[in-house]
């Protein structure tokens, strides 16, 4: 069969998603009609409308915050940690039980490949609940004093790149610490958060402890600025993060921000090259590059640049782009037309500024929002594609000559979320890791996440951490 082995389509059945024609917001333990303008959520891989979703108005936000307050005052804030823990454990188990349904629904709504929603998003979401459940009755051992108190009502706004996982990152620690939650999922990806609401019902979580309000930015703004919210947690762009931080000035609300990034992935000449190539690919093409910690700047030592780029281009050309439900798809759909246009615009800027564009020859579906994996070489620090977050499957390649130069270039950004280091020399790893101004440093690996490992940024990538003991601080009055 030499040379012409095509993989037949291997689609996961979309029936598993139990897709409903309409979804409603979740307030005070019930699914209710929102009084905002309903939105239509679209499958970005086909541009078909998946469902109509009710959205919240300012009055709905107010109701939800009040419900969360009642639940906090009367039940959740007073409940012994050991009891809270059991609810959270239940949620973890229910996510595992409904894992396949959630994975298919996530891929439909978000466009990400089923392999990733199945093997990363959903299991990691369950893991976050499982991990934090165990903290609920052990907070006195977390290093914040013998009896750290919750903050109250948490208003949480999450992005569209990991809809369920980000909900888990936000809700699990908040509940474990004794807070109640009003969460707004992203406008383009509300569905899995609403299934998570259903799971909260199945877990018999007391009404009002978790409230889910779909909607656009205006709902998020209402929520974070609501006087009844004690704590604001936001994951999203640095631009919006700054707006929120500004709007909360003087409010005294505790904030955590997980914002953008422009991570450098540094490959030294003694790196394990084949694994470095894998790490580079995983770093920028995982989840279509819609990852705040994506390794979007490759910094490669000049002496191996050509060899590495040859290997990289070959490897990237094997990435399969297309139907997010196909089990063999490596790179799915861009989440929205707006995002696709932004990627196209920045890529065009790369051309205009003189970088060399290479695009994978992989076939790309005609319908839906797709962008073929792209590698820009001859990129200079001053170019937009080296400085601005593209949030898409576009890699910018720069070179360096010495370790000092690599570190200087890697840190030359207002962001500071993540960084990658590839070298077989242990002392150099620790040397470079210490110098990276980034909240997460992956050495000889990339894009690893775990509920036990704190995640979060330096500088304009935000503040506060999620995961680990450090992550609890965000939801405790300490």
């Amino acid at each position: 069969m030499s040379s012409n082995w095509e993989y037949a389509p291997a689609p996961e059945s979309r029936d598993i998603a139990n897709l409903k024609p309409a979804y409603r917001m979740f307030v005070d333990g019930k699914f209710v009609e929102g009084s905002g303008e309903p939105l239509k959520t679209v499958n970005p891989a086909t541009e078909e409308v998946l469902a109509e979703v009710g959205t919240a108005s300012a009055a709905d936000v107010d109701n939800a915050v009040k419900a969360a307050r009642r639940a906090y005052d009367r039940i959740w804030g007073r409940m012994p940690g050991a009891e809270r823990a059991k609810y959270i454990f239940r949620i973890a188990r229910l996510i595992q039980e409904r894992a396949r349904e959630l994975a298919v629904l996530e891929s439909l709504d978000n466009g990400k490949p089923i392999r990733e929603s199945r093997d990363v998003d959903v299991p990691t979401a369950a893991a976050h609940f499982f991990y934090h459940a165990g903290w609920a009755d052990k907070l006195g051992y977390a290093g914040f004093g013998p009896d750290p108190r919750p903050l109250g009502v948490a208003g949480q706004v999450i992005p569209w790149n990991f809809p369920l996982l980000m909900a888990a990152w936000k809700i699990a620690p908040a509940l474990a610490c004794g807070n109640t939650v009003v969460l707004k999922p992203a406008e383009t990806t509300p569905l899995t958060a609403l299934v998570l609401a259903e799971i909260c019902q199945q877990a018999d979580l007391p009404p009002g402890v978790v409230n889910i309000l779909p909607g656009a930015g205006d709902v998020g703004s209402e929520l974070v600025n609501h006087a009844g919210v004690d704590k604001v947690a936001f994951t999203g762009s640095t631009e919006v993060g700054k707006l929120i931080q500004r709007s909360l000035a003087g409010s005294g609300k505790k904030m955590t921000m997980e914002l953008g990034g422009k991570a450098a992935n540094i490959v030294f000449d003694d790196a394990p090259l084949d694994q470095a190539v894998e790490g580079i690919v995983n770093g920028i093409f995982f989840n279509q590059g819609h990852v705040c910690c994506a390794g979007s700047r490759l910094l490669v030592q000049e002496s191996i640049a050509d060899e590495l780029l040859d290997k990289l281009r070959y490897r990237v050309s094997t990435l399969r782009v297309g139907d997010s439900l196909d089990k063999n798809t490596d790179v799915g759909a861009i989440n929205s037309r707006a995002q696709l246009e932004k990627i196209q615009e920045l890529a065009a800027a790369g051309d205009a500024e003189g970088a060399q564009r290479w695009t994978s020859p992989v076939p790309v579906p005609e319908k839906g929002f797709f962008f073929a994996p792209t590698v820009f070489s001859d990129v200079q620090q001053s170019m937009r594609i080296a400085r601005e977050e593209i949030f898409g499957p576009v890699l910018s390649v720069l070179t360096f000559r010495t370790p000092d130069e690599a570190v200087a270039k890697a840190n030359n950004t207002p962001y500071g979320l993540s960084a990658g280091i590839w070298t077989e020399k242990g002392s150099r790893i620790l040397w470079a890791a210490q110098r990276m101004r980034a909240g997460v440093v992956w050495a000889n690996t990339f894009n690893r996440f775990d509920p036990t490992a704190p995640f979060g940024g330096y500088q304009e990538s935000g503040f506060g951490r999620e995961g680990g003991r450090a992550g609890l601080e965000a939801y405790l009055d300490v």
């Binding site: 640095t238 993060g241 500004r246 003087g250 909240g439 440093v441 050495a443 690893r448 490992a453 500088q459």
Partner: protein, 286 residues
């Protein structure tokens, strides 16, 4: 009283290890609690603030890169020197704050400094972690200094409050630009003199005197400042300062209305507030 005319002291700014006058050439009178003239202090300007930030940034790699043991010894040495100047501090605190408790305040300040000096080499073990991730990786998290911290020192507590906000910032490896209490700046300048003769490298602590409301907005908006301690910020401009700080997503240290009771035993929250957590992953294999 002897007939001798005492040598009056000139109070200047402390930037990058030197004691310049304000580039603006301005000064303002500092009075004691009953309105009697004590001295003229330099009235720092935005350009002084800019220079101070540059000095703090320049000092950051060396100070943050020093071993925790070394930082601990350097800071402990400062306490030794404070002890040596105890009488001068007592006089200045008493004059500034109009208190009879000058001695106990200075003692508490020196003890506070010693407390924080002892933290330098504990921070990583207390706030760091080995993360038991579900995979063949070694993952650990270490606290790191956030960078350059702008500190608006408490307005009332001119020494104990000052020490309580500055010591945790530098114990954790940050460098700072401190805006001293506007009306009670003299202990801060004397502390600068102590720092200048200690082993704390120039630029690690920079002290500006002047109008807080004039200098603070420049620090809050400065893109090379990583964190802002609002403790001594005038209530009227607190929200504005927070808004300005949001421009580069600065970390904020906020306190409620009025000053905390500095005599209370401190906790670790001021250490945590100026620390980042860095998580490092590496595969484990052969």
């Amino acid at each position: 009283m002897s007939d001798r005319i005492s040598v009056a002291k000139t109070y200047k700014l402390y930037i990058g290890g030197a004691f310049p006058r304000s580039e603006s050439g301005r000064s303002y009178p500092v009075n004691d609690s009953r309105g009697g003239f004590l001295a003229n202090a330099s009235q720092g300007s935005r350009k002084d603030a800019r220079d101070a930030v540059a000095a703090a940034r320049k000092a950051f790699p060396g100070w943050s890169g020093a071993t925790a043991y070394n930082r601990g010894q350097v800071l402990y040495r400062v306490a030794e020197l404070l002890e040596g100047r105890r009488e001068q501090f007592v006089a200045e605190v008493a004059a500034s704050e109009g208190t009879k408790r000058g001695e106990s305040i200075v003692d508490a300040a020196i003890d506070r400094w010693v407390w924080y000096a002892g933290w330098t080499d504990k921070v990583a073990s207390v706030f760091g972690a080995s993360n038991p991730v579900a995979g063949p990786y070694f993952s650990f998290s270490v606290p790191e200094p956030t960078g350059v911290v702008a500190v608006l020192a408490p307005q009332a507590s001119s020494l104990l409050g000052l020490v309580s906000v500055v010591a945790p910032v530098i114990a954790t490896g940050n460098t700072c630009v401190v805006v001293a209490s506007q009306d009670r700046p003299l202990p801060a300048i004397t502390l600068s003199e102590v720092l200048a003769t200690s082993d704390v490298p120039g630029g690690v602590v920079n002290v500006l005197t002047g109008r807080t409301a004039e200098i603070a907005p420049w620090l809050a908006a400065h893109a090379d400042v990583n964190a802002l301690d609002l403790t001594g910020a005038p209530e009227a401009i607190k929200a504005d300062l927070e808004r300005a700080a949001a421009g580069t997503v600065k970390r904020l240290v906020r306190s409620g209305r009025g000053e905390p009771d500095w005599a209370r035993e401190p906790d670790v929250s001021r250490l945590r507030a100026v620390l980042e957590t860095k998580t490092v992953w590496h595969p484990m294999g052969v």
